[in-house]
Symmetry: C2
Subunit: 366 residues, 2 copies
DNA sequence: CTGTTAGCGCTTTCAA
DNA sequence: TTGAAAGCGCTAACAG
């Protein structure tokens, strides 16, 4: 394996000259530059990033922490991070925490030891304030995918869950539904969506029925259980707001099993717009999160702060367009259905003619 | 940021002693060991992996190259790699190539520069023999997810596509179908599956009809196009073998659009058993690839070779159990349908009572 | 425009 | 059981 010294020796120059050429620094004649380039290529010399990072105190690595890449919520977001990272010469460590605090802590430690330039945390356990402090002290730029900013240096990317829940419910109300249930978690994003649901009902003068508010977790099985509880009710709701798309899929599968038709008997709306949402039958009406853009923005925030460490934390709120599909409207326009020849671009969901800007609001911390 | 020197100074010992404690080397008294541990914890000292790797010439990083993590084929496999990596103290770089040769080459260069211990390549462009040579020369252990072994040091993990195609077709034949179409790519895995299809037909004395063999790519849109071509035929086939699950989903969606019922009018079988297969309506009958196990085995092969670099390459062939669901049999047993309380474990597909061993055959290279 | 010197933080090797 | 010295491969800082 060739080293910079080998290249320098063959070229008859000092290692510093080779280093300058490799890093495209000015002050090397075009002649030597070309000669060194040739030798680098001949020797198949690959600069050792461990050595250069150690010396320069700069790495081109970042870490992404997610509960599990097998959960369809994350691949798009990870891709958003990774695409931009790659374009900028960074490479990313993928960490699956399974929501296990001990795994999370192990990973954070590992990433600190790898001296990553930045870290994107999108759930899967609870990152402690002490850990955040330590990361910031290490000079690692942290981006969180949640809406609680806990440090003036931290960037958060998120949507307005209250607004999303409100829009979802309003869509159902606009379709004439009066008895609307919600199946969503109480914690994290779920509570905001629930509050939006309550606000939308209240706006139309409808009193919430606690029987129609079911606590769940963000997975399909939980959606199935929730739907079964609603099915057991003396009077079924005519529409259901699901806390996310996986819950919605569970709800629909349970409804179908009982012979209910969606949307004719019960309309169902999801949240997130994960890729399956468009593929499912019926295709899911949902409140979209611009997952790819959120990931890319997270990476951009890290890059910005690598260049200018003085930048403050910001809270980035993304728009949540309503995507109308068949699970609420039997005759929904078909544009979301994949057409031959046109690959469905799940990265840029559109409702109508214009695509709303993904970023809605930016608030500087402190 | 504390360094090993800081720890040594505070402890009043040499850096070597601290190093020995950190790396759990023998020959340090229990007393100093405990004292140093305490100081390490007090200072929140995180050993610099860049420095230790530079000096020891060993990293605990590996790279995974896939076309795109947003393709549902890969998350399970990546998880298989990552779980084992994490358990062994490794951290993984995720690289999305999009099947773009230039991205692939850039990534391979980046991983070489990061001095990864190993690299798992699961498609997305064509890795050149020169690159393989270079990687092997660098001492990077390479595992390929394909069935062409090109180097005596290389490990491959794969299924027997011919066998899978044969089993898929035989399943349809056993159900009484006589006119069976196939929609699959000609290249890579597709051709093996096609040959298996032909072999199965021939075994039953059925002559293949070229009209029923449609070339596709591994995506849903291609499946839709293929199905539409079959629908335009004077006499529709009664069953379709799809090259993979995404094609199968496209096929079914096109069939449904034309008012055909699956499986009553047309039975459809997929390949891979990606997570959506169980969720789709109708749930997909498919030939499963043990994706998680294949990923984990790839990582295990890397670990084995880190410990013993003399190990030869091997070709690991995995079993492909047939998973019978509703897309071929209207009354299929329902065990694959997610039940409340039991999270569906997509990692361990089972057909009947016994789970066949994931690894089928191991052939040492050369 | 190019070379020299020092040292990043660690492990290795040898000595005590 | 512990310490001292050397050096992994590179970049920073300065000198020429």
């Amino acid at each position: 394996v060739a080293t910079i010294t080998d290249v320098a020796r063959v070229a008859g120059v000092s290692v510093q000259t080779v280093s300058a050429v490799i890093n495209d620094k000015a002050g090397i004649s075009e002649a030597t530059r070309a000669r060194i380039r040739q030798i680098v290529s001949d020797l198949d010399y690959q600069p050792n990033h461990l050595a250069s990072s150690l010396r320069s105190r700069r790495t081109h690595t970042i870490g992404i922490l997610v509960p599990s890449i097998t959960n369809p919520y994350w691949p798009e977001m990870v891709r958003g991070v990774e695409d931009l990272a790659h374009r900028e010469g960074y490479v990313v460590f993928l960490c699956n925490t399974d929501g296990d605090p001990s795994k999370l802590h192990t990973y954070i430690r590992a990433l600190r030891r790898q001296r990553v330039a930045g870290l994107f945390f999108s759930g899967g356990g609870e990152i402690t304030d002490a850990e955040i402090e330590a990361l910031v002290a290490d000079g690692i730029h942290v981006v969180l995918n949640d809406n609680r900013s806990r440090h003036e240096k931290i960037v958060t990317v998120h949507v307005d869950d209250h607004r999303g829940g409100f829009d979802a419910t309003t869509h159902l109300l606009d379709l004439g539904h009066q008895r609307i249930a919600i199946i969503a978690p109480l914690e994290t994003a779920g509570s905001g969506r629930r509050e939006g649901y309550l606000a939308a009902l209240s706006d139309r003068g409808i009193t919430a029925d606690s029987e129609l508010m079911i606590t769940a977790t963000f997975d399909m099985e939980s959606g199935q259980r929730g739907a079964r509880r609603l099915l057991a009710l003396p009077s079924m709701p005519s529409a259901i707001v699901a806390g996310n798309d996986m819950i919605a899929i569970g709800v629909i599968s349970a409804l179908k099993q009982q012979g209910k038709r969606v949307p004719q008997d019960v309309a169902v709306i999801g949240f997130d717009n994960i890729p399956i949402a468009a593929l499912y039958d019926p295709a899911l009406t949902t409140i979209a999160q611009p997952l790819y853009e959120m990931g890319a923005s997270a990476m951009q925030a890290i890059l910005d702060r690598v260049r200018n460490p003085a930048l403050p934390g910001v809270s980035l709120t993304f728009a949540t367009p309503l995507i109308v599909r068949r699970s609420t409207v039997a005759t929904a326009n078909n544009e979301e259905e994949p057409q031959p020849g046109a690959a469905p671009d799940t990265r840029t969901p559109v409702t109508g003619v214009e695509r709303p800007p993904a970023l809605c609001e930016e608030v500087v911390m402190k």
